[in-house]
Symmetry: C2
Subunit: 404 residues, 2 copies
């Protein structure tokens, strides 16, 4: 008997123009377009195996080895239902020989290779991996933009993880959402030089979830509407042009300004929402000073910070600056564990904290070990990958191998 199974992995993405606010909370239609860099799956990824089998009792999902309830009418159920619908309409209705996989329950096992404690949102890579895995299983004749329509309904920012490189999520105007999907502005090969240093910041308070937080902003922030109408459209155009021209200076300035503005409208919310803490702010101060020195020397900035709905910093920079930036961060934020030097920048002697010539060391005070819990060095990467069966997460019996 045939086994219908597919395994894919999908990447994390970190936005430069931030998504914050929905115009439709059920369909997950945003109030503004957004743009992100897809990060390399060699370092951070979600991997999902899907299998359709008529003998399965019901659709079942395991996340990191734990069975999760698929809530009726919930986001997960919506994604699975949409994919089954496309299987039927685009495959089975057109080819009577095609197995009726849309009628079979699916078993889905998904794994993130980064710990939840890292504070990295796994919903984007998770839903992208889920959608690409089932779409592969179903042999859907859909491009990534079409699949992004489905991933979007799982988690808005997941739609951008259907592409590698530099990706826009067009907000669209339709009430039904058919024009609210991801497009690739440029593949990673166009500008492969953009690296990212993720500073995992310790946080002892639970922040406001982005789902509830963004809707509070929509309902109460007087500034959000101005951002949506008068700021984001121009920034989307300008940063897309900067990406096409590989103009890091412009890319970085827009990225930093938009991170700040996202946190500004969060603060303009009733009651106010704070995602950055004193450690986050100190990292900003370091990047600002690092850029000040760079501008004095070359007229251009060398790094861009950005913060999502949490205290972690992501610092984008061309590869040539990564060494300086890691040395800078380590000087102010001593690390418990050795830097994982995946690109072989530092050699055997490891990282020593240091600042560049002309850097004003008084812009921040050194923190204790643990304020920045860890550093992850990665770069722009590709879109979802179809993996071989040897990487499948489901065993022959259709349950996760880790549970077998």
């Amino acid at each position: 008997m045939a086994i219908y199974q597919a395994t894919t992995s999908a990447p994390v993405n970190i936005a430069c123009i931030k998504y914050w606010g929905k115009r439709d909370t059920k369909l997950i239609l945003p109030t503004n377009s957004s743009l992100s860099v897809t990060l390399d799956q060699d370092h951070l990824r979600s991997t999902t195996t899907s299998r359709a089998d008529s003998s399965f009792k019901k659709d079942t999902l395991w996340l990191n080895g734990q069975e999760e309830v698929i809530k009726d009418g919930g986001r997960m159920a919506t994604c699975i239902a949409e994919l089954k619908r496309l299987r039927k309409e685009l495959v089975e209705d057109k080819d009577s020989d095609a197995p009726k996989l849309s009628t079979f329950p699916v078993h889905i096992s998904s794994f993130n290779n980064f710990p939840t404690a890292a504070g990295l949102a796994s919903s984007a890579s998770g839903f992208a991996a889920l959608v690409s895995s089932i779409a592969t299983l179903y042999a859907l004749p859909c491009d990534a933009s079409a699949l992004s329509l489905i991933a979007r309904q799982g988690s808005g920012s997941a739609c951008r993880s259907l592409f590698g490189g530099y990706v826009a999520w067009e907000q669209g105007t339709s009430a039904t959402g058919e024009d609210s999907y991801a497009i690739q502005i440029a593949p990673q090969s166009h500008w492969p030089d953009i690296h990212a240093l993720i500073c995992v910041v310790s946080d002892d308070k639970k922040g406001t979830s982005s789902t509830s937080g963004m809707q509070r902003t929509v309902e109460t922030s007087p500034l959000l509407q101005h951002r949506i109408k008068h700021v984001v459209p121009q920034r989307m155009a300008d940063i897309s042009k900067a990406i096409l021209e590989r103009d890091f200076d412009t890319f970085a300035k827009i990225t930093m300004a938009d991170s700040n503005q996202f946190h500004a409208v969060a603060l303009d919310t009733e009651p106010p929402i704070f995602y950055m803490n004193d450690v986050s702010k100190a990292i900003i101060a370091l990047v600002v000073e690092y850029n000040r020195v760079a501008v004095l020397k070359t007229g251009k900035v060398k790094a861009a910070y950005t913060y999502d709905a949490g205290p972690n910093a992501v610092i984008y920079t061309p590869k040539e600056n990564v060494k300086e930036i890691v040395q800078l961060i380590v000087k102010y934020f001593p690390q418990k564990e050795a830097f994982k030097d995946v690109f072989g920048i530092f050699g055997v002697q490891g990282v020593q904290g240091a600042v560049v010539d002309g850097f004003n060391e008084a812009v921040a005070k050194p923190f204790d070990v643990g304020a920045v819990k860890g550093l992850i060095h990665t770069k722009v990467g590709d879109g979802p990958r179809v993996l071989g069966d040897e990487e499948a997460l489901l065993g022959p019996d259709g349950i996760p191998k880790t549970l077998a």
Copy 2:
């Protein structure tokens, strides 16, 4: 020989609608109107003695006993020159018997009764005391709004300290600034019940000065213009109405929203400006939770936080709630020194930390002693006071008594 001398004191004010941004940096004309509560001089004040004497060599200023340079063309020199001009035009030119004080050098001694380390801006009370002192010395036939035009050129927010109670600074539209002055919305007697708890927050980094910070915001924040044009005018009207109606719920909500929006536009600045730190944010979380419980019980909030260009919180509340709020703050921010119970709320046993019934204690973590360095309890107060010669800060020789 006659001695021409006057001593006045002037109060601190804390804005509910924030002043942030100048349309004219020399004349100190603001980009938006603002509104503040004048605090009681029984607790916080600047006191200034001015003396005019033909035997003095030059205009001389002592601030807290230290001689300060009066810079040519600077703000201090502008205020003194304006007052001399008014003396000549309004008094000496009209009454030939009036002594020609405008031609005499002045000695000015000013004292703040609160330490600089408290992080309270002393420029508002300081310039208000200076202007009211010299205006008294010169017997100027000017009302407080007219004097506020001069104080404004010393320090923008000083213009509001020329009145007690609830005070608006009308932005004005004239290029010369003659319609940019303070007016009283209501005297303290109209709504004497508004108390203020100042939480002096420890801060180990020097923040951006408000003078340079606000101009960076004017130059770089896309959100500021929206705030100026579309948010502040309505809030000025609404909070003025709330004050006239003694509607604390509305007053508090606008005050908190405007504090948040001021910090939001500071964050929307390039590079971003942060005045609040993790302690400030924890105090906000406590007030938000305290209000949540109050709204559940009564439908109305009981406290309003507001933050100026620094991490200190000022919490406005009707007197009946002060006890609960002090207990709340002290529970999370243990104090080194006993609470200075100037209104006799707690009796001999002093303050014990406590939360109200239904309060979710998990909204913040308790901090160490010193995170909030001190608490100052005060209330809405009156405008500048003319003091007797027994309180003069200058001795018979015309130099500060403390130096004699």
